[in-house]
Each structure stands twice: as C-alpha cells, then as structure tokens.
C-alpha cells in the first residue's frame, strides 16, 4: 500500500497548477470536467474496484499523469456512490418495514435517509458532469446470505447502521487525496464526509455508545464488523503521540482514521450480491 507515495505525488505543485483551481464552483464542474481531459470510459463497479486498487498501489516507476488523477477522481466518486447506494437502500428499506423502527427513533432515520438519498443524486450528477457514467446500483443483500436479520431485529438494524456510517466516514476520508485534483469535488466530498460523521455519532449514541470511536473498539459490535474499526486505535499523527496527554483512549478518539478504497469496497462488497 503506497498511498503516501501517491499523496506525495499529488502534492506536487505542477500537478496543482495544471489541474487544481481554487475558485471553481460546483456550477462550473461540468466545464472543469472537460478541461481535466477525463478519459470518459464508463466505470462499472467491477472495473472500479480494479482501478481503485491500482490507483492506490501505483508504483514509482509509472508516471502520475493528469489522466490518472482524473481516473482516481472518478474512481473515488464511484466508490462513494456505491456506499451511498448501500446506505440509501438500507434506510429506505428499514423505514418501509412496518414495526421495525420504534416511533421515537423514526425522525432520526428519516433525516439520515433523506441525506443518503440526496448523496446518491448528488454523486450521480457530479459523475455525469465529469463525463463519466455513474455506476448502476448494485443488488444488495443486507442479510449476507442470512447471517443478519436487520429488517426483523431492530438491534441488528442499529448495528449495521452504525457500521455503515462509521465506514462511510473512513471511506470518504480515505479518498481525500484522490479527489483533491478537483477543488469543487474535494469540498463537496468534505461536506458529505462530515454529514456521515454526524450520522455516525447519532447512531452510536442511540446504541448507548459514545459518538466517537475509542481505540479499535466499535462499541458493543459483533466481530463481523471488526474490519470497520481496524486501525482506529492509531495514536501516531504525523509523528505526534496523541496518547501523551490523556491516554490512548482519548488519543485515538480525537482522530478518525482512513479506510483505503479497497478496504471500503471489501466491506461494502459483503452486502453486494
């Protein structure tokens, strides 16, 4: 995993002067997409997974070009769209299931569901404006071949909701470098990212957890969700030891960690038929 190599390359000033623009508004995204000379090859989920892994493991022998940055950008957006499709269908299904969500909790999930639906539409429009065909919605199986019963058991529904939201936070964060070539997309991705974090905090607190992730412990979560929290116990931020002041628990919780695109896709893939 040579993510840092890629980040170093993306940080190159020449790259920014060619691709980046501080003043691009979202309304200019369509034009900007054309300028970025995107290859325009529609990416289905399968090809996305392959290219995403490639983008993150690109070796120092290849040349990091504007075209590969553009494909990293749209690959990142396709990953985000897959996760939003998953969340959107999950909450809509849950809200539609009579008797699943207690009346007092419905308003919370209606709010979350509204945002996930909006994210799907927004990401599709963004991909289209960049000249890339949005990936089709996968077929989901939230029971994972019968291992979960989220639409019959509210506790399980909450477990998966927390896992999806905490995954979303990490997955968007992990794609920051890949979308940074387009300032308008980067800002929008950040604006979605913090919404996922607000959702995650709320669902966690409804499950009698803290809103934040302490160590690599999801908080009363089944082992099947361990991948969502792996590495969240990191205490080293740019060489600074976050446990120095108040211990490892507070140190780990004060920074959320990234998920790579391949790890995020693997988690989402569990629920894709």
């Amino acid at each position: 995993m040579n993510l840092l190599n890629i980040l170093d390359r993306l940080a190159d000033d020449h790259f920014y002067s060619k691709i980046g623009s501080r003043s691009e508004g979202l309304s200019h995204m369509a034009n900007f997409g054309k300028k970025a000379a995107i290859t325009g090859i529609p990416l289905g989920l399968g090809s996305f997974m392959a290219t995403s892994a490639k983008a993150e493991t690109v070796t120092t022998t290849s040349t990091y070009s504007a075209a590969s940055a553009a494909s990293a950008l749209t690959d990142a957006l396709q990953l985000a769209l897959t996760l939003e499709y998953l969340e959107d269908e999950y909450y809509r299904t849950g809200l539609a299931k009579a008797g699943l969500i207690p009346g007092g909790d419905k308003v919370v999930f209606q709010q979350i569901s509204k945002h996930e639906t909006a994210h799907v539409a927004f990401l599709k429009a963004t991909l289209t404006s960049l000249g890339t065909e949005p990936g089709a919605k996968p077929e989901f199986d939230f029971t994972v071949n019968g291992a979960f019963q989220p639409f019959d058991d509210y506790a399980q529904f909450m477990v998966l909701a927390q896992a999806f939201e905490d995954t979303g936070v990490r997955a968007y964060k992990g794609q920051a470098g890949n979308v940074a070539s387009n300032k308008a997309v980067l800002q929008a991705a950040l604006q979605i990212h913090s919404v996922e974090a607000r959702h995650a905090s709320q669902v966690r607190r409804m499950r009698a957890n803290k809103g934040w992730v302490e160590l690599a412990n999801g908080g009363n979560m089944p082992a099947a969700t361990d991948a969502v929290y792996a590495g969240e116990d990191n205490l080293n931020q740019a060489g600074y030891n976050t446990s120095t002041l108040f211990g490892a628990t507070a140190g780990s919780a004060s920074f959320d960690e990234i998920l790579t695109g391949s790890d995020a896709a693997a988690i989402a893939g569990l629920f894709i038929v």
């Binding site: 920014y16 950040l190 913090s194 919404v195 002041l245």
Partner: protein, 235 residues
C-alpha cells in the same frame, strides 16, 4: 491597508441559533488601520507591529486551524473546570471527552507547526462575554456554535491545503468535530433530526463549508489576541 481582528462578542452565545451567533460575531468585527509594509516573498510577516500574521500557503492553513483549536480547547477547559449546576454524569463525561479531544488537537497543531516552521501562532487569549458558564443552555449553545463552526471551517479550508498529508490529517479531525457537533445538537434537541439538521445540511445532503474570512467573523467574537491573515484577506 491591513485590518486587525479585534472584536467583542457581547451577548453572542446566549442564543441557541447558529445564525445569530455568526451574525453577532460578525457585527463585532472592528476594522483598524495598521501600517504593515507592502510586499513580501516569504510566508511570514514578522509581527513588527505586534500583530501576528498566520502566514501563507499551508503554514497559514495550519495556523488557522491552530487558532480554532486553541479557541475550542480554551472554552472546554473552562467548561470542565466549572461544570454548570445539575449536570448529569453522561453530560459530564461528554464534555470531558470533548475537552480531551480539543486539547489534543491544539497540542497536535502546536507540535506539527513547530516541527515545520518557527512561524507558529502564539498562544491566543479569548473572552466569553456572552457566555454564562453556570448555564446549561448557554454552554450547549456555545458548544454547538463552536463545533458547527469548526466543521464549516475545515470543510471550507480543505481546498486550500497543498500537502495532501495535511489534508488527510484535517479530514481525521473534522469528522471528530462533526461527531461532537452531532452529540451537542442532540443534547439540545434530543431524538430529533437536529444532529444533522436542515439548518446545517442542504438539499444536496452537504454540510456547511465556510471560507476563512467568514469563520474569522464567526469566531472572532471570542478572540482577544489580534492577528491577521493577509493571504486570505483577513485583518
């Protein structure tokens, strides 16, 4: 012509409305002429006039984040040293956690900036003219305003960051600020949609992003120590 952020925040946070908070903060913005010599090629103005400039490029962004984290850390330090009456054990733990996180963020930036440059923002002084530290409503309202402002600040500043390692770090922090904002908002309006309310999330499902100048106007009401950020047209 440079200006100085040197503002008052009287009555700013008694009110639970973020918009009013922002408006009052902005209303306190005082524009004072300062003689600062013209061009500079380096990324820092030595504060000959006693007013610090955040600097340019990534140093400026890091100092900007450091200023905001100093404010949050300072506020929660006061909260945990003087809990409002009748506070529940759950709320006490929540504020201690947030205090811990914000102090860690502050010291992280201090270490990170010090490691990269000697152009680091000094320790700022703050004032809380409108805040009643004995009032749950006042503390929650101020916390909400600070956390939402922090989220909007990082969301708006990300595009200015050149070094993508810093961008990822900012991303690691902003989601924690959003988790705080959500929890505080839910304490104010339990069980509602307020944790990600329509006042902060738009029809596209996007959270607020604010430009640095708008953030300084919002947070400036608390900041006693004047500073400028010429690159961003602040001060």
């Amino acid at each position: 012509m440079a200006k100085t952020i040197n503002v008052s925040n009287k009555g700013a946070t008694m009110d639970t409305s973020r918009r009013n908070f922002l408006k009052l903060g902005g209303a306190g913005l005082v524009v004072a002429g300062l003689a600062v010599a013209g061009c500079r090629e380096d990324n820092y103005d030595f504060p000959m006039d006693g007013v610090f400039d955040l600097g340019t490029g990534d140093v400026g962004i890091l100092n900007y984040a450091y200023a905001l984290e100093q404010l949050e850390a300072d506020f929660y330090t006061k909260v945990v040293n003087n809990f409002y009456g009748g506070i529940s054990s759950v709320e006490k733990q929540l504020f201690i956690d947030i205090y811990n996180h914000e102090v860690i963020h502050r010291d992280f930036f201090k270490a990170a900036i010090s490691g990269a440059t000697n152009m680091i923002l000094p320790k700022l002084e703050f004032k809380y003219d409108g805040v009643d530290f004995n009032s749950r409503d006042s503390i929650l309202a101020t916390s909400k305003a600070l956390e939402d402002t922090g989220v909007a600040a990082y969301n708006g500043a990300g595009k200015y960051i050149k070094n993508l390692d810093y961008l990822v770090i900012a991303g690691k922090i902003v989601s924690v600020e959003a988790r705080h904002a959500s929890a505080i908002r839910d304490l104010i309006n339990p069980g509602s949609g307020a944790f990600s309310g329509d006042d902060v999330i738009d029809a596209n499902g996007l959270d607020v992003a604010k430009e640095p100048k708008d953030i300084i106007m919002a947070a400036g009401g608390f900041i006693k120590t004047p500073f400028t950020w010429k690159e961003q047209g602040i001060g």
